[in-house]
């Protein structure tokens, strides 16, 4: 009932403003339509889904174990005859299985570390933005200070000092990446808090919880989603960077970065050992970047030109 009254109340204003024929589409629907029109993002999403399925179920379907050394076929090029479709490394391990299992680690790091950074970033940013004032200033000053530090090197330092635990990798990488998220969430919370439609909702007697549920969360959600898709590839990249240098996951565990490093060792005699994991890693990062980009464009039409 209130809706009809609202519309009638708005009508003369619209007339005065000359707004014509407003179509009833929610911003989310709008965003969804824009996203579907972004072909790069849609293809990327499909490819990404395929890679995830492959990484999760692939190793179960392939008869080779990732640590099985096939002495008959060391450093064999890709072939169907040998059963090693993507070849083997210098000790006869199947590259495809190793790459898929390495992908599990890489994607898992991407997921877990992103969640860590999401939890820290959102709560930090929301608290700073919501309370504002001195608390905000102090908290953001801290972020500024940390921001200027070479964090990648602190992660390496942590690895050196505490040894290389996979959990430490998750936490350390997550702990680097929360800064951006905190800044963004804080900025958005701050502007939402003072936004006219929130003030208007308050003035109309809408309760705090309803304001948070109906206005704040939906307006934060889009932004957070965009940054999550952009943080995931960053995190995967950092992990593979560490693993490439030999400072990340350790044998027998493997990740794409470690496999690329192994491949780079043997690339002259067995280039496929370099190329297969490189392609998986690059395609994954490429797809995530396109999805993130597409989401940002879809959810934030201001930047869309």
């Amino acid at each position: 009932m209130t809706k009809i009254a609202d519309i009638q109340a708005i009508d003369p204003f619209e007339a005065a403003l000359g707004v014509s024929d407003v179509k009833g589409r929610s911003p989310w629907e709008d965003a969804w339509h824009r996203l579907l029109k972004n072909r790069a993002a849609v293809y990327s999403a499909f490819i990404m889904a395929f890679i995830i399925l492959l990484v999760v179920f692939g190793p179960m379907l392939i008869s080779w174990e990732s640590d099985f050394t096939d002495w008959d076929y060391t450093s064999t090029p890709p072939s169907f005859a040998s059963g090693h479709w993507f070849g083997t490394d210098s000790v006869g391990r199947d590259i495809l299985v190793r790459t898929l299992e390495g992908g599990r680690i890489s994607l898992m790091v991407g997921l877990v570390a992103t969640i860590v950074s999401l939890l820290i970033g959102v709560s930090y940013g929301a608290i700073a933005g919501y309370f504002g004032g001195v608390a905000d200033r102090v908290m953001m000053r801290v972020v500024d200070i940390i921001y200027a530090l070479p964090f990648m090197f602190f992660v390496i330092l942590l690895m050196v000092v505490f040894g290389r635990h996979i959990v430490l990798i998750f936490v350390a990488i997550g702990a680097i990446n929360w800064l951006d998220m905190a800044r963004i969430v804080r900025g958005q919370t701050l502007s939402l808090k003072n936004a006219e439609f929130i003030v208007a909702a308050k003035a109309c007697g809408v309760g705090d919880w309803d304001i948070i549920r109906r206005h704040i969360i939906p307006n934060l959600l889009g932004l957070v989603m965009v940054y999550v898709t952009l943080i995931i590839p960053q995190v995967i990249l950092i992990e593979s960077f560490l693993s490439f240098l030999g400072l990340g996951v350790q044998e027998p565990m493997s990740s794409w970065g470690a496999l690329v490093a192994d491949g780079a060792q043997d690339m002259e005699s067995a280039p496929w050992t370099l190329i297969v994991p490189s392609v998986f890693l690059t395609v994954t990062l490429y797809c995530f970047n396109f999805i993130g980009d597409g989401l940002r464009d879809a959810l934030d039409p201001k930047d869309r030109l």
Binding site: P12, E14, A15, L17, G18, V19, S20, D21
Partner: protein
Amino acid sequence: MDAPAPLLEVKDLDVGFDTPEGEVHAVNRLNFSIKPGETLALVGESGSGKTQTAMAILGLLAENGHMRGQALFKGQDLLKMTTPELNRYRGSEIAMIFQDPMTSLNPYLRIGKQMVEVVMHHQGRAKADARTRAVEMLRAVRIPDPERCFRQYPHEFSGGMRQRVMVAMGLLCAPDLLIADEPTAALDVTVQVQITHLMSELRKRSNTAIILITHDLGVVAGLCDRVMVMYAGEAVECGSVEQVYYDPKHPYTQGLLDSVPRLDRPEDTDLVAIAGNPPNLLALPEGCKFRDRCPRAFEACREKPPMQLTEDRHAYRCFLGDPK
């Protein structure tokens, strides 16, 4: 009275925009002309096509826009010109002042530089010479301490001051035609009055013709010779200020006038809003575009009414008052 040749004559101007939803018809078959030194007001709601008319004349339509028709400026068709050809007119013979003074000046360049470049480019004058001219114009728009203003950046000024700068910049090359797109809309009321006075004063001094785009009927009354009322991309009424204000022929014009408070009517006269919304520019109705909102619409309005012209050059597009 023998009429001098028109300075600008717009014939059958169509402006459209391609959008994902279809073609938006912003201006439809628009005809008007303006004589040297004359002031013409284009009046209408937002979306009535007045700004896009000006943009089309200067070749400044957005990338998805296109236009048809003619705009003869001193006999030359502006719509047929390439950008380099148009650039000879833009800023020198035809100047434009935009709606939003806060964003229309380049925030990264000193005001002086932005003014001097116009004079130097169009008149090939030396820098010092151009500077003298710029300071002179800043003084003419009554900016205090023009020498200092010359060295300052736009953000150091208020909206009203910036619009003065825009006016000064527009008049630098003594153009024959000045197009002012809602020059006062973004300003405080008191500042609006100042800018309006400034423009009417400058108009009297130079022989510049002005096309004033506005939805503010009060500004029109103080400044203009003739008024053209636009609705949904069409001219619905055109005449002298007296004709349009005191003897509006088109129901839309009447509606517009009834919706603003006026001092020349009894205090208890009700203000009446025009019911309904302007038509969707994606799918314009056949016949009279105002039909759906018109309190006096009748069967004949399903056909497009022709422009009627009274003997004292008062034109309107409506069957009412049709001699037949």
